[in-house]
């Protein structure tokens, strides 16, 4: 059973199509990243999963049950993007309130609240009013409230927003730790480097459509391009390699590295054999990869961002909702 499964999920707000048939699966124990421009439909997807907004068509299952079902929500922790915690609460009392709504018994709350706050590094301020918290502290509190009841699935919408670099590292470590404990994490973030570091699988939404999906390796691998480097003082036989049918290009600003592109259906073997026959020593060989940012930029290049705010009267919609 998948933790999250959507099939041809659609959502329209009036004339705006926020989701245009999204199908994806998130398996247990994964950290799954959802990427997309503003207005691509990421938050809409999350809100449908949690029952905050209703779907127009399609199917959405959470832990095998229809998304939004009350009993399923008991097993989910959620940090929304634009959260607004009531300022009259302290960190502790807010956790106590939310814990009660989750049905966590009082004794368990008394034990788990300080632990969760300690985990996110704000235990020292847990009895201060939230209105005195910095943005980063509120973000940490938001993460703590999503974890406190030990949920099977944790949905985090921009969890490191407003958090300093040190804090981001701590949150990444925390997510990795949660994954190791068997939790599933569904992560929505604009910080592509962060997603690349911790996610097992990634999906890219563009104007309500799922345009790419796969593991980080699958998405970042650039099929059939190798970077080669020879022992210092040796000359790369560009002409001979080209004559074999392999395009070659010298890489600028590198220590004599060359980029060899494999024609369709061929492997790097003939090139390696040629180099060996000529007594050349290969000291560097790497299959070239893109960064996730490259992948994302290539994917969304040329596309207009979607709409994540109320449309002005008369303005035409250009994409989905956030």
């Amino acid at each position: 059973m998948s933790v999250i499964e959507t099939r041809d999920l659609r959502k329209t707000y009036g004339r705006i199509e926020a989701l245009k048939g999204v199908s994806l699966r998130v398996e247990k124990g994964q950290i799954y990243g959802l990427l997309g421009q503003n207005g691509a439909g990421k938050t809409t997807l999350i809100k449908i999963l949690l029952g905050i907004v209703g779907k127009t068509e399609g199917e959405a299952l959470l832990l095998g049950a229809p998304a939004g079902a009350v009993e399923v929500r008991r097993k989910v922790g959620y940090l929304p993007e634009d959260h607004a915690f009531p300022g009259y609460h302290t960190g502790y009392s807010l956790m106590d309130f939310y814990g009660s709504l989750y049905g966590v018994p009082a004794a368990e709350r008394a034990k788990k609240i300080p632990e969760a706050l300690e985990l996110v590094g704000i235990a020292g301020r847990m009895h201060s009013k939230i209105k005195t918290y910095s943005k980063g502290m509120k973000q940490r509190l938001g993460i703590a409230q999503a974890l406190m009841h030990d949920p099977d699935l944790i949905i985090l919408d921009e969890p490191t927003d407003g958090v300093d670099p040190m804090g981001r590292k701590e949150i990444r470590d925390l997510m990795a730790d949660l994954k190791n404990k068997g939790h599933t994490i569904f992560l929505n973030s604009h910080l592509l480097g962060e997603v690349e570091l911790i996610c097992d699988r990634v999906a890219i939404l563009q104007q309500g459509k799922l345009v790419r999906e796969g593991t980080i390796d699958e998405l970042t691998k650039t099929k059939g391009t190798y970077t080669l480097g020879l022992l210092a003082g040796q000359t790369f036989p560009t002409d001979a390699v080209t004559a074999l049918g392999f395009p070659v290009r010298a890489l600028p600003d590198t220590a004599g590295h060359f980029e060899v592109t494999l024609p369709d259906g061929k492997t790097i073997e003939p090139v390696m054999k040629l180099l060996s026959e000529r007594g050349l020593t290969v000291v560097h060989i790497v299959e070239k990869k893109q960064s996730l940012e490259d992948v994302f930029m290539t994917t969304v290049e040329g596309a207009e961002p979607g709409v994540d705010r109320k449309r002005r009267r008369g303005a035409r919609p250009v994409g989905g909702g956030e």
Binding site: Y13, K47, L50, G51, I52, V53, G54, V70, E71, R73, R74, V76, Y78, P80, D82, H83, A84, F85, P86, G87, Y88, H89, S93, D96, F97, Y98, S100, L101, Y102, G103, Q145
Partner: protein, 466 residues
């Protein structure tokens, strides 16, 4: 239940976060201290009895079981002589009863007025009296009867048949009904040697000075202000509890509570706040209803503090413990429930606390005006003073039938307070002028209205995205 109490606690936190709640508590404390500063000093029998004895002219037939008095008070003069105040507030005096020479002759009465009064008291209630104002011919909605009953016809033999025991029983009832003493605290014996139609009785009233109908001088600020008013104890306590607390105090409390609680729902529906709540395993309707009850709990606690405090200090200071006054707490909470239902539905549709406050206060004012109009229209049905068109009666009656009975709830609380403070004879007189509303009407229609408002709010909340 855990979720319910969590939201109650959350509402309480929200309420006590602002300063207004502390202003309200301070106002409540000031009111309690002010009431505690009221001093009551029993008047001497010479002062008190002349104020209460004239009420004996009001007769409740059927040995007092008839709730409507007779139409024509018998013009008799009840006077006290040789009045003395003994230990434990016991008053002893001679009660003299004679024809009221100033009024006698104006009415066609049997010769022995006192015997006739006792005879009327012993007989069953007669038919209701025809409304003399009905023939003004000003409109079609006039009541043809009044809330008073016709006295019985009596022959000379009937009056001769009235016994001394019946006279004593009648007087005991009158003292209980208008002075408020318990009948077992009244000792009466007829004096011999007084020629009829005059009568004299030796009377002893135990615990008279603490009775509801006994007049007491009132001063405020712990006696710093000299006594300025002498009136029956029950009437003074009723004034404090009904006019000061149930009237002005309740109006101020309701208005301020509308302001404080109007922020609860819009704050909950704020972007970023609602998502956090409805992502938890709780239904939206549940969430809204619990939040609504949270608002009611707030005013329940506040009014319990204020009314409980006033009840305690009036009890201690006056010796008159009126438990029915405490019923004002649930009735006031229910009244607020009507207003808060309006506030909730406005808040859900507009997400604006300001809109909720303004519309709710306007609705409160409208209900007040409607209640006043209904009172005026009902009075006009009896006195037939104004020429009011049929459609105006229909409009006011229809609005009164379908909208919450704000005024009726006020009348109910007034009736609770009056019944618990003034002597029963005085309380019944209200029935001539003010019809006590039905519980079913006052609560039933209002409950249906609350259910409708919450239903609309819930529907909207369930249907909306986010």
């Amino acid at each position: 239940m855990q979720q319910f109490f969590a939201i109650l606690k959350d509402s309480f936190r929200e309420a006590v976060d602002g300063f207004v709640i502390y202003v309200m508590l301070a106002l409540a404390a000031v009111l309690i201290v002010l009431v505690a500063s009221v001093s009551f000093t029993p008047d001497s029998p010479d002062v008190a009895l002349p104020k209460v004895l004239p009420k004996f002219a009001i007769l409740y037939p059927d040995q007092g079981k008839g709730t409507f008095p007779t139409a024509v008070p018998v013009p008799l003069k009840y006077q006290a002589a040789n009045a003395q105040l003994g230990a434990n507030g016991a008053a002893t005096f001679i009660l003299e009863v004679d024809r009221d020479k100033e009024r006698d002759g104006a009415l066609a009465l049997p010769l022995d007025g006192f015997r006739y009064a006792v005879y009327t008291w012993t007989k069953p209630s007669g038919p209701k009296v025809e409304n003399p104002f009905a023939n003004r011919n000003r409109g079609p909605n006039v009541s043809t009867e009044l809330g008073i009953v016709a006295p019985p016809a009596a022959s000379a033999d009937d009056l001769k048949g009235v016994t001394d025991e019946q006279m004593v029983a009648f007087l005991k009832f009158q003292f209980a009904a208008f002075v408020g003493v318990h009948e077992s605290d009244v000792t009466i014996s007829r004096r011999a040697g007084v020629a009829e139609p005059a009568y004299a009785f030796d009377v002893q009233l135990n615990n008279a000075t603490t009775a509801r109908g006994w007049t007491q001088s009132v001063s405020v600020l712990f006696g710093a202000v000299p006594p300025f008013k002498s009136r029956p104890l029950g009437a003074s306590v009723a004034f404090i509890q009904d006019q000061l607390v149930n009237g002005i105090g309740a109006a101020v409390t309701l208005m301020l509570s509308v302001v404080i609680t109007a922020f609860f729902i819009p704050n909950m529906l704020r972007k970023g706040s609602l998502d956090l709540l409805i992502s938890k395993p709780i239904g939206r309707v549940q969430l809204l209803v619990y939040k609504y009850i949270g608002g009611l709990t707030f005013i329940f606690l506040l009014s319990a503090f204020t009314i409980g405090g006033v009840w305690a200090v009036t009890g201690v200071r006056s010796g008159l413990w009126n438990p029915t006054f405490l019923l004002v707490v649930p009735v006031l909470t229910f009244t607020f429930a009507i207003l808060y239902a309006v506030s909730t539905v406005i808040a859900v549709y507009t997400r604006s606390a300001i809109a909720a406050i303004l519309i709710t206060l306007a609705f409160m004012f409208f209900l007040y005006l409607l209640g006043q109009a209904k009172t005026v229209f009902d009075a006009n049905r009896i006195v037939n003073e104004f020429d009011l068109p049929e459609w105006a009666y229909t409009l006011v009656d229809t609005l009164n039938n379908i909208l919450p009975r704000y005024k009726d709830l006020d009348k109910l609380t007034t009736s609770f307070i009056t019944d618990g403070t003034v002597p029963v004879g005085d309380a019944r007189i209200r029935g001539i002028f003010v019809e006590t509303p039905s519980w079913a009407g006052a609560f039933g229609v209002s409950l249906a209205f609350i259910a409708l408002m919450l239903g609309l709010a819930s529907w909207r909340l369930v249907k909306r995205d986010g």
